[in-house]
């Protein structure tokens, strides 16, 4: 439980759940979105087939902490491009996780590219929630790009 404060809202992780690439099977991302909502997070949910540039703009506008990408075909091969695009705009503090069907060799490649975690099919609900919550906290604490003073 997040402790309730009276004057300030408790920190609510903002998570973008989306799909890049050509595969349109969004059952996985729907389930994850519902899990995260039920864990008290705010989930921005999009249709599949997102362009990388659109994802970057969306991440900026929505000020998300974590991006969750579902990949059931070979969409995860595009993720390194997304990582590059994020750091080009100075958003490397945003954590990226990939879930779905990812071969072991590709997992290494993704982690190498800066992905924080890969969830394979059959991942336990609590593990997913905990990991994403922790990553969101980290992301929020390390985003210090702008100070209002």
């Amino acid at each position: 439980m997040i402790e309730e404060k009276t004057t300030k809202e408790a920190f609510k992780p903002r998570v973008l759940v989306t799909k890049i690439g050509l595969d349109g099977h969004d059952r996985g991302s729907r389930i994850i979105a519902a899990w995260l909502r039920d864990a008290g997070m705010e989930v921005i949910y999009t249709a599949p087939w997102q362009e990388i540039s659109t994802v970057v703009k969306l991440v900026q506008e929505e000020d998300v902490d974590v991006i969750g990408l579902s990949s059931l075909a070979t969409d995860h091969l595009l993720v390194p491009k997304l990582m590059t695009a994020l750091s080009e705009v100075g958003y490397q503090h945003v954590k990226v996780v990939v879930g779905g069907i990812v071969p072991d060799a590709d997992e290494l490649m993704l982690l190498d590219a800066g992905v924080s975690k890969v969830f394979h099919t059959g991942s336990a609900k609590n593990d997913v929630i905990e990991a994403i919550g922790a990553l969101a906290n980290k992301a929020r604490n390390s985003s210090s790009s702008i100070t209002f003073n």
């Binding site: 519902a34 909502r37 008290g40 705010e42 989930v43 362009e51 703009k57 506008e61």
Partner: protein
């Protein structure tokens, strides 16, 4: 708007419309962080230019889809558009799935468009507590038009009325309940009524029903609320709707009173009253004192009437009266 020489760097960047600064400022306002008051006082000299249009109506009537078609036309005119899309938070977990953007995909990639999804965070009223301030910060960042989509819950009337210059109430054909909801009070705040999904049967019937309801209402001399048919999916009626919104703006900007963010003091007072009520409720529910249980007991047994009990509870819960 042009920044002044002594403006802080963040403010200069915000006034220049930098997307990342705007987004971070919105988060600070939404989370009511310590930076929020700095932001509010910083932008104060620069607000009050944007046209604010509210879209409200029952769940699923097509508000997001219609906003998507509406902003298409604005973009063609070269206007900068901010969208605030509010979706409900789950009262159980406090979490939310924010899905309005799905229907706005056709324009979300455009440079001129800035969309922000907000969770209502269980604030009754169909908006989130920070909505009015987020409108202001979008305004300061140079948006020509700020569009608000409210949670389609019945109670958003008053709040959206205080924030938006033009209130568009959307409904769809063939839903008896929908009309029912409109009767309940939302009709009063509508500057424009839209029957969306006019590609479906019964649309003409719904238009007639609404028109006859409107005829029972006292008309203002300057504005008679039009009923517009649209199909947000097919794009029909959207040009007409855009034109009517513009006319409404022209009409209301000629009036001195009630334009702009209407009665800002009133808005702040309502916000404070709501928040104070939240605080009192929380305090009462957590209060385990003898006095509280005596009061509850007395009400249960019929020894104390409701209004007396409430007086005693309010007095007891306000620190200044203790």
């Amino acid at each position: 708007m042009k920044a002044k020489n002594d403006d802080k760097p963040w403010l200069v960047r915000l006034l220049n419309g930098e997307r990342t600064v705007l987004a971070k400022a919105i988060s600070a306002l939404e989370n009511e962080t310590d930076e929020a008051s700095t932001i509010i006082s910083g932008i104060y000299p620069y607000i009050g230019k944007a046209l604010v249009v509210g879209f409200t109506g029952s769940p699923g009537v097509g508000k997001s889809t219609l906003v998507n078609s509406y902003i298409a036309g604005l973009c063609e005119e070269g206007l900068r558009v901010g969208v605030i899309a509010v979706d409900p938070s789950s009262p159980l977990s406090g979490g939310a799935i924010l899905g309005d953007r799905i229907r706005m995909a056709a324009h979300e990639h455009l440079e001129n468009v800035f969309i922000r999804s907000l969770a209502s965070r269980c604030h009754v009223g169909g908006l989130s507590r920070a909505t009015a301030r987020i409108v202001d910060v979008m305004d300061a960042a140079g948006m020509d038009v700020v569009v608000i989509e409210t949670v389609g819950a019945g109670q958003s009337e008053v709040e959206i009325a205080e924030i938006a210059h033009t209130k568009v109430v959307v409904c769809s054909p063939g839903l008896g309940d929908d009309i029912q909801a409109i009767k309940a009070g939302i009709l009063e705040i509508a500057d424009i009524l839209v029957v969306n999904k006019c590609d479906l049967p019964l649309a003409a019937h719904t238009v007639r029903q609404l028109k006859s309801m409107l005829s029972l209402r006292d008309e203002s001399p300057e504005w008679s609320t039009p009923v517009v048919s649209t199909s947000a999916l097919e794009g029909t009626g959207v040009v007409e709707l855009t034109e009517i919104i513009k006319n409404h703006e022209k009409m209301s900007s000629n009036k001195k009173e009630g334009y702009g963010k209407g009665k800002p003091q009133q808005r702040v007072l309502r916000l404070l009253a709501n928040s104070a009520a939240d605080e009192i409720k929380k305090a009462l529910l957590q209060d385990k004192s003898e006095e509280i249980s005596t009061i509850c007991d007395a009400v249960l047994k019929g020894e104390m009437i409701f209004s007396d009990a409430i007086q005693r509870l309010i007095k007891g819960s306000l620190p200044c009266k203790q």
